[in-house]
Each structure stands twice: as C-alpha cells, then as structure tokens.
C-alpha cells in the first residue's frame, strides 16, 4: 500500500466508522461530497480524484466493514462511467424499455438509492451502457433485505446518452469489496464476543468446537479479501471479466459459511435487532444476489472455459496474471 493509499484508508475508515449503518442520504451525503469520495474513480481532468480500482477496493471494503448506509460505491462508479463530477449518480442493475438515439422510455429496476439521483447509469441491452437523466423520474421506493434503498424508476422520454463500459460487472466488483469488508467485520465481532462470553466457567473461545468454526470463517474471509484484491488489481490493469466473475462467486460462497458461523457462535444475542451483527449479515445476504448471483456468474465464467476445452484451462488462467 502506498502512503497515499494509507491516508485514504485512514480518512475513509474514520468517516465510515462515524456514519455507519445509521447514516442517511439526507443528513450525511454532504459529508461524502465534502471529501469528494464520489469522485474517487473519476479522472482528475474531469474534476475527480483519479483513483485506481485498488484505491476503490480500500474505500468500498471499508464501506462494507462499517455497514455504511450510503451509496458511495454506486456514486463513484456512476460518476466515473458517465465522466461527470456534478450531481449524484447511481447504477441500475436492469434497464427495460425503448430507446432511440437520445431518449429513453421505460423502467429501471434494482436502483440503489434511486430516489433523488440526478442520473443513472444502466447496462444497455445493445451492449455498453446508457446514462439517463432521472431527476424527473417517478420513483417507486423499495429496499433490499438489509433495508438499503433499492428503487424502481419509471422514466418517460428521458434524455439519454450511450457510453462504453460495463456497469453491471463494476457494481459486482464493488459488492465483492463490500462483502470482503463485511465478512472481516463480522469475524472481528465474533472473535471479540467468544473471548468475552463465559459459559461452563470459561470463555467460549476456549472450546475447540468454537475455535475450529471460527478458523473456518477466517479462511473464508481471507479468501474473499484475496479474491477482491485479485479482481481489483486486474481492473487496475485494464479489465477483469474472468476475475470479477470468480471473485463474486468466491464472495458469495464465503457469505454462506461466514454468516452461519457468525450467528452460531453469537447465540441468541446475535439474533436481536439491538446487536450490531445483523447490519453486516443482512447486507451480505442481500449483496449475494445483487449484480449477479451464483447461477449468473458461474455460467458466465464456466461458458468460455468449457468452450475453450481442457487444454486451454491452465494456460488461460495463468495468463491472467503474467
């Protein structure tokens, strides 16, 4: 990590720890704007920070670690793809409707914090992506299972432009980074809890069954962080179709194992609204489906491998990093 990245980590870590799961768009988006984190991936010439995907991994991972209830990743990716510093953008998972050269009629679905967004970047059925002006859109508010806003936007005759880029895959990578952070945070909570909680006259940490379960969790969290790093480094080199698919699959798998162990070692307290585990685990369960679940990414990843045949498997895998 460079000195600049260490500063970024410290700044974002401190800020997100304060804001956390209780943050709201209305009262706290200004704080994000002030430090220009929404311009993290936008080029300097366009008024952004000019950060790399390795910088983004640091910030998005911390957003996940602190269960930050603000669309930092969405805004940063939308701004970078649209090349815009002004206003708040977000990314839709799906756009359905009719488009001509410059106008769009239709519905945007699965839009994180779609309410009040100035523009939305969405995957385009004809390849690439579209940028839509959505200040006038009709918003049907919704939420994922963690209570994070996931809205439907109905737009009529909205001004639109076509751009290059793959917002769906980039958001999948952002989710992987957030999941890596959330898994680490849930692991830290679990380790802290079993060291403190006493039963049978000793701390739970002294029971081998508990130790072995948390060791498995630690391996899953480490694997997810490693996969997130591998995919971010590939993006920093240019593109990462294989890596993003693989990393999302790995993060999804770790989510099942990690959240189950985190809840098991916490007992009933972890199942309460007051305790701080669920802002992490409910997000993880929601994010597992968002921007591609296992079925989607495993066929995206497996298809070309099967088509290429076994002789290409290892050479192609190693060519990714050499």
């Amino acid at each position: 990590m460079s000195d600049q990245q260490r500063m970024l980590e410290e700044m974002a870590g401190g800020l997100f720890a304060d804001l956390g799961a209780a943050a709201t768009l209305d009262s706290d988006w200004g704080t994000i704007k002030e430090v220009a984190l929404d311009g993290l991936l936008l080029g300097e010439a366009q008024g952004g920070f000019g950060g790399s995907w390795e910088d983004a991994l640091i910030v998005f991972r911390l957003a996940g670690y602190h269960a930050l209830a603000l669309p930092v990743a969405e805004a940063a990716i939308a701004a970078a793809l649209a090349g815009r510093a002004a206003g708040r953008g977000t990314v839709a998972a799906v756009a359905e409707g009719s488009l001509d050269q410059s106008r769009f009629d239709g519905v945007l679905a699965g839009v994180p914090w779609g309410r009040g967004a100035d523009f939305v970047v969405a995957p385009c059925s004809k390849g690439g992506a579209i940028v839509l002006e959505t200040a006038e859109a009709t918003v049907v508010e919704g939420a994922n299972i963690a209570g994070e806003p996931r809205d439907r936007l109905i737009v009529t005759d909205a001004s639109m432009s076509r751009i290059d880029g793959d917002p769906f895959a980039l958001m999948a990578l952002a989710r992987v980074a957030q999941m890596a952070g959330a898994l680490d945070a849930a692991l830290a909570l679990a380790v802290g809890y079993v060291n403190e909680r006493q039963q049978f006259g000793r701390s739970l940490a002294k029971f081998q069954a508990v130790q072995q379960a948390l060791a498995s969790f630690a391996c899953e969290a480490a694997a997810t962080n490693c996969a997130a790093m591998g995919a971010a480094q590939a993006m920093a080199r240019g593109s990462a179709p294989f890596e993003i698919a693989a990393a999302k699959l790995r993060a999804n798998r770790a989510t099942g194992i990690g959240t189950a162990i985190a809840h098991q070692v916490h007992g009933a307290i972890g199942f309460t609204e007051d305790y701080t585990l669920h802002p992490l685990t409910r997000r993880l369960w929601g994010w597992r489906s968002e921007f591609g679940g296992d079925r989607y990414w495993s066929t995206v990843l497996g298809g070309p491998i099967v088509a290429a045949g076994s002789a290409r498997f290892w050479p192609d895998l190693t060519a990714l990093t050499r």
Binding site: L214, C226, A227, A245, R250, T299, I305, G309, S310
Partner: protein, 359 residues
C-alpha cells in the same frame, strides 16, 4: 516449461496418473527434469543448484502439477530435504546428498510420524544415542511416503534420554541403505503403495549425520512448515479431474456442468492467488505461517470436495472405462488423505484459531 513437460505426460497413458501427481514417482522423469535444471532451482550452484528466484521455482512447480507430471520421486527432496540440508546440514552431508538431489537422482523421505506420534508429534519415541563420535538410532517411523524409492530419510528422534515433549529432539540424515534400516510397505485403500513403515535397529551414524543443532529438532521442523503447507500441491491434487470435467461438459452441454466448471474455476483462481501471495512473502524473507496454514486448509478442502461435487453432477461410472469416470473413482478414494497428510484439518484449524487469539 509447458513444452518440456508435455512429452512426459503422455495422454495415451492411464489418466489416473495425472491425478495427485506429486505422489506419482517416475525416476526417468525426475532425471530429465534435473538435467533441465528444474530441481533445486534456488540452491547454490556449488551444490548443483541453479540460483534462481523462489518465484521462478514456484511457477515451475505449478506448471508441473497442473500438467499432472509424475514428480513424486524427487518431490520431497526438492521441496524440503535439499533446502533443510543446505540450511542446517554439515558440509560433508551437503556434499554427499544435495548435488544428486538437484540432478533428480537422489530421493528422500520424511520421518516424522510414529505409531504413537501422529498429530501429537512431540511424543516421538525413536532415539539417537551417542556412540563415540557418532550416533546409534533405534525406533520406528510410520506412514513414510516414498521410503521405498528414497536414498535418504530425515528423521526426528529423541537425542536426549529422558527428555519430554518437544525438548531434546534432533533431526538426523540417515542413508536408507545403512545397516539396520528396514522398509516395510503399507498398501493404501486404493491398492497403491506410497507409504511405508521404516524400522531402525542399531543404525550407526557418523557425527556428521546430526542436522543442525542437537536438541533443536522441534524448532527446525516447525520452521519448515510454511514451506511445506502453502505450495501449489495443496490445492491442485484434483485438477486432473476438473480438466476431464471441462471436456465432458464440452461434449455434453448442460447449464449444470457449465456452472460447476465456473464455480471450480473461481475457487482454483482464488487459491492460486492465495498460494502465490504466500510464496511472494516467503521470497521476501517473511514467514507467513498463518496464511500458509489457511492455504493448506482451504486448498485441501477444495481438492477433497471436488470429486464428490462432480460425482453428484455427472452420471458416470466411477469404475471407468471413461477417463472422467476413472479419474473420479481414483480421486474419490484418495481424497480422504488430502486433509490428513502434512497436518490434519483439525490441527491446521487449531493453528489458525491461535492466530485469531482464541487459544
């Protein structure tokens, strides 16, 4: 690398030989590899090595394993014994063994486990007794992989009479043809012969046979573990089966198989990153013991789970004759050993738990 390996992994031969190939010995292949400068790559030239970087060596290892090359004869000498001797061995013993190891002609085995010392390695009972300038070894080792091909064994024995647990242990380098050394085969459940019992009856050794410092055996053994645990062999043992699955899925297209290939590829990619990252840390002189342990645990679980996942997804006879079935049936039977050899799953998780501050 790929063109060098290709002629030695004949596609026409039994496809099962490519599975778990670091346990498949082929002295002719080992000699060819040695002649190509691909054994002892990081060792000094004075001892037949090639003074290459650890990362160059790492790339060679993973290419060999991914191709299913029969590297079993020299694997332990290259991975462990040569480096151990170079680091701790006495000059005479280094000269005697290491150049032959680099040439792919001298093979070794690891004498740690005993009948009453498995996971609890500190309860080894084999002994070394002083005898003039030299030593006399008595006792027995068990599960010794490759002992029937090896020229030399590195044994951990109790050199201080009456010592307890991990104190008073030392490592010795013992020629397998020394009078008093007997090897008895143990046949595994597949009918294969990889491991053995090794008996030492009044085996006389010169002073030079002591490896490193007397009484320091425990520390020397545990220091090797990062090297032993995080290598690409810890997650690639079932790759031959994944390759068969890819070709099967190509001929019998189905979304289930494509998705399974995708999931297994994602895991392989992640483990490769983790294993390579440990290798880079070792190359920089760090000792990432905890990460190395995680790589082995995750890697073993992955290579162990793969046969079962594939058996569930494909209707095929694991007795053959189709190559996918043959490799599947072979690995189903071998895979229980993956989370035993080199430290069991439970012992690894115990080490990780200690790293988490739980014990």
């Amino acid at each position: 690398m790929r063109s060098l390996v290709a002629p030695h992994v004949d596609i026409g031969s039994d496809p099962r030989r490519r599975a778990n190939s670091w346990a498949v010995p082929d002295p002719a292949f080992s000699r060819a590899l040695g002649a190509a400068g691909l054994i002892g790559m990081t060792w000094p030239k004075a001892f037949g090595g090639h003074e290459r970087s650890p990362l160059e060596r790492y790339v060679v290892l993973e290419e060999l394993l991914a191709a299913g090359a029969p590297v079993g004869a020299h694997w332990i000498a290259d991975r462990q014994t040569g480096s151990l001797l170079l680091r701790y061995g006495q000059e005479e013993e280094k000269r005697r063994w290491v150049p032959g190891m680099a040439a792919g002609e001298i093979y070794s085995c690891i004498g740690l486990s005993e009948p009453n010392a498995g996971s609890d390695l500190a309860s080894v009972r084999s002994t070394a007794r002083r005898d003039g300038d030299g030593w006399v070894i008595e006792g027995q080792k068990l599960w010794t992989t490759n002992a029937h091909h090896a020229h030399v064994i590195i044994a951990l024995v109790r050199s201080e009479p009456g010592s307890e647990r991990n104190a008073g242990l030392s490592q010795f380098v013992i020629p397998m043809d020394a009078p008093g050394v007997t090897v008895r085969p143990i046949i595994d459940l597949t009918g294969g012969h990889d491991f053995n019992e090794v008996f030492f009856e009044s085996v006389k050794l010169p002073a030079s046979a002591l490896v490193g410092v007397e009484g320091d055996g425990w520390r020397q053994v545990t220091a090797e573990l990062s090297l032993e645990r995080s290598g690409p062999e810890r997650y690639l043992s079932s790759t031959a089966l994944l390759l068969q699955l890819i070709d099967h899925a190509r001929m019998h297209p189905s979304e289930t198989l494509t998705a399974l290939v995708g999931r297994l590829a994602a895991e392989t990619w992640t483990l490769r990153l983790m294993s390579a990252s440990v290798a880079s840390k070792i190359a920089r002189g760090e000792d990432p013991a905890l990460e190395a342990t995680m790589v082995k645990d995750l890697g073993n679980s992955f290579e162990q789970a793969m046969p079962e996942l594939i058996q569930a997804a494909v209707e095929i006879d694991p007795a053959g004759p189709e190559p996918l079935g043959l490799v599947l049936g072979h690995l189903l039977q071998l895979s229980p050993s993956f989370s035993l050899r080199g430290g069991t799953r439970e012992i690894l998780k115990g080490i990780i738990a200690r790293g988490l501050g739980l014990r």
